[in-house]
């Protein structure tokens, strides 16, 4: 009898192990192992061909060379701005889908948000280039209207990078926001209205506190996606984009300095971890609550 229960328990554990195996193998082989290898790489220095010694030189270079940490700070700040802009634009969209649209209208609006993602990011970004380049659609239109004297170059500005990043990130902000706004009981809004609140007080006291986990979740996802984005800043910002992922790319690919690239990679990881932690502290949210919303 006891044996039978023990066997059953063992079977259950085996079943669980088998079900989790693909995910665990994927996690270990493709994420943990490469990261360990990169960590080792970043803490060594080449003293002669094929000769390496443990060292902190890679990290020292980052702090000594102003270009690197300037680009690093710039990437962080622009990503934060892009996240804030995405939140500002996504909030009314999510509100419309969750609270104002009736029946199938909400689903339809959701699909409208989703449609751009049927096309690959490269194609989407190239689309922006066609619109914005000097010989493109928008400059020609502006010149035709007489807003500008002739076609102007709209690509390769920081604002252009932000436009591209916000566009790419919008859906990832809208989804968690819709989820958290849909769960907000309308009678809470009415109760606040009834008790004398105006629109702004309702937003500040009822809607935002309720949606805080969704807002934080959306911001974390968008910030990470933006920080680690390579394609959009490179294509829309051109040579001036100075995005930190480009520095990593050029260390690995152009300069073949894997040690330096690995160190940069870890610095970026540290940055996103720190920003997420800071964001959670600032909004008073718990990581587990937020992750349940994503």
């Amino acid at each position: 009898m006891l044996e039978a229960t023990a066997t059953a328990a063992w079977h259950r554990r085996l079943m669980l192990g088998l079900l989790l195996a693909p995910a665990l193998i994927w996690l270990f082989a493709l994420i943990v192992l490469p990261h360990l290898d990169l960590a080792l790489l970043s803490f060594r220095e080449s003293v002669a061909p094929r000769q390496y010694v443990p060292s902190l030189t890679q990290y020292r270079t980052f702090f000594v060379e102003p270009l690197y940490w300037h680009v690093f700070a710039r990437t962080a700040i622009l990503s934060a701005i892009a996240t804030a802009l995405t939140l500002l634009i996504a909030f009314p969209v999510a509100w419309t889908i969750a609270k104002l649209a009736r029946g199938r209208m909400g689903a339809l609006l959701f699909v409208v948000c989703l449609i751009p993602f049927w096309v690959s990011e490269t194609v989407r970004t190239l689309g922006w280039m066609i619109l914005l380049r000097e010989s493109g659609v928008l400059p020609a239109f502006l010149a035709h209207l007489g807003v500008t004297h002739g076609p102007i170059e709209l690509l390769y500005h920081d604002a252009t990078i932000l436009v591209g990043l916000v566009y790419t990130s919008l859906l990832f902000m809208v989804v968690p926001l819709v989820g958290s706004l849909e769960s907000l009981d309308n009678s809470l809004i009415e109760a606040a209205y009834d008790l004398g609140s105006g629109g702004f007080a309702i937003l500040r006291k009822i809607v935002i506190p309720h949606a805080a986990p969704g807002i934080t979740a959306g911001c974390i996802v968008v910030f990470m996606l933006t920080l680690g984005n390579y394609l959009t800043p490179t294509l829309l910002g051109g040579k001036n984009s100075l995005w930190f992922t480009e520095q990593i790319y050029s260390q690995f690919i152009t300069r073949f300095n894997w040690e330096q690239g690995a160190a940069f990679g870890f610095l970026l990881l540290a940055l996103s971890t720190a920003m997420v932690w800071f964001g959670l502290k600032l909004s008073g949210q718990r990581f587990s609550d937020v992750m349940r919303r994503t």
Binding site: D185, S187, L188, E190, A191, A192, Y193, D194, L195, G196, S197, G198, A201, K205, I206, P209, H210
Partner: protein, 378 residues
């Protein structure tokens, strides 16, 4: 419609004048006029879909009437937003703010009015004290029981000293025992604060127990507006007779009309006698109502012979509905097979009644109501 202004001559706290609200082709509130006197407990009673919620939301200001005017404290509310009205509402599911503690919930409205923090905390604590929740201000909303939440919701509204407190079936979500308890508590709170309460419910017992006046609402208009006693003992329409309190309802034809009394032949072929409410013509379709407690039960017809002017009927006990003081018996009338409900006397004299037993019963025709059957739309 009856004016209910108090004798003091003060303007009524709530007055509706020919209020109409349509949703597409559906008329939710149909040309409704009434007034509610200061300090009274007024209930709007009706089945779901009768328009009572629409009416309440118009008073609160969440929707605007298509026509007519709503006045609160003698002031027209046309174009006044909910947050500017001297009205507060207790929502059906209370709508306490889960992101705030009890004290913050109660102080919420005061904060919106710009009352200083120390002052609003003092007021909120005093209000919680008055509703019997002293010291609970630091608690989270989900730490409270259903009844306590109810009191927080009322405190949150009353702390703003509204002219009118609207209550949207707030007892609906509570279990039966608590509901009975909260009924009494609501009544006591209302008389302690003296605030005018407008209460909507589909539960006739709530309306009867709590209210000074009740408007029975059906299809967007009031069928009757009066005290609970008037509704119960002198229903104005068949709808009120059927909706308020338990009633035996019999449809049939008026076979003879003798002054106030009508002989009714029910469609199942049973002869009864009932008092006329409104004009009834011989041969017309009628509806008769007899309250279970208006009927007297006896083991032999001889016991009932002493009651003058009453027809004696016979039947078999179909089922016994024991409920303490509210016990009743369902009797299958012998000729028509009509199922008739009779309240058992509280003496316990018929406690040994058995299913299948042959009994006699009668009722005073003065206490049975006969209405001309409502025309085809019913």
């Amino acid at each position: 419609m009856a004016a209910l202004s108090s004798a003091t001559g003060a303007p009524p706290d709530l007055e509706a004048r020919a209020v109409i609200k349509r949703f597409g082709a559906h008329v939710a509130v149909d040309n409704l006029s009434f007034s509610v006197a200061r300090g009274s407990f007024f209930s709007i009673l009706g089945p779901s879909g009768c328009g009572k919620t629409t009416l309440l939301r118009m008073i609160a200001g969440f929707i605007a009437p298509d026509a007519g005017d709503i006045q609160i404290g003698g002031r027209s509310m046309a174009g006044v937003a909910p947050n500017r009205r001297p009205v507060n509402m207790v929502f059906q599911h209370l709508a306490l703010f889960p992101m705030m503690n009890v004290g913050e919930n109660v102080a919420f409205g005061l904060a919106r009015r710009g009352v200083a923090r120390a002052e609003r905390n003092r007021k909120a604590d005093a209000m919680l004290e008055r509703v019997g929740l002293g010291g609970a201000s630091g608690k989270r909303v989900d730490e409270l029981s259903g009844g306590q939440r109810q009191r927080v919701a009322i405190a949150r509204s009353l702390v703003l000293e509204p002219t009118l407190l609207l209550l949207d079936e707030p007892l609906g979500a509570l279990d039966l025992k608590l509901r009975e308890h909260m009924k009494i508590e609501l009544k006591q709170l209302q008389s302690a604060f003296g605030t005018t309460f407008v209460y909507i419910t589909h539960d006739q017992s709530e309306a009867l127990v709590l209210s000074d006046h009740v408007g029975v609402m059906n299809r967007g208009h009031f069928e009757q507006l009066g005290t609970p006693q008037e509704l119960y003992y002198a229903p104005a329409t068949p709808f009120v007779a059927a909706f308020v309190g338990a009633n035996n309802r019999m449809a049939g034809k008026a076979s003879a009309v003798n002054g106030e009394l009508v002989d009714v032949a029910t469609s199942a072929g049973w002869q009864i006698r009932a008092r006329r409410h409104g004009p009834v013509a011989t041969g017309a379709a009628v509806e008769a109502f007899v309250r279970p407690e208006a009927a007297t039960i006896a083991r032999t017809s001889a016991e009932l012979a002493a009651l003058p002017g009453q027809m004696v009927h016979e039947g078999d006990v179909e089922s016994l509905l024991f409920d303490g003081a509210n016990s009743a018996v369902l009797v299958r009338e012998l000729k028509s097979r009509f199922e008739f409900r009779i309240a058992l006397p509280q003496t316990g004299r018929y406690a040994d009644l058995k299913v299948g037993e042959r009994i006699s019963f009668s009722f005073d025709p003065e206490r049975a109501a006969c209405f001309a059957a409502p025309s085809a739309h019913a």
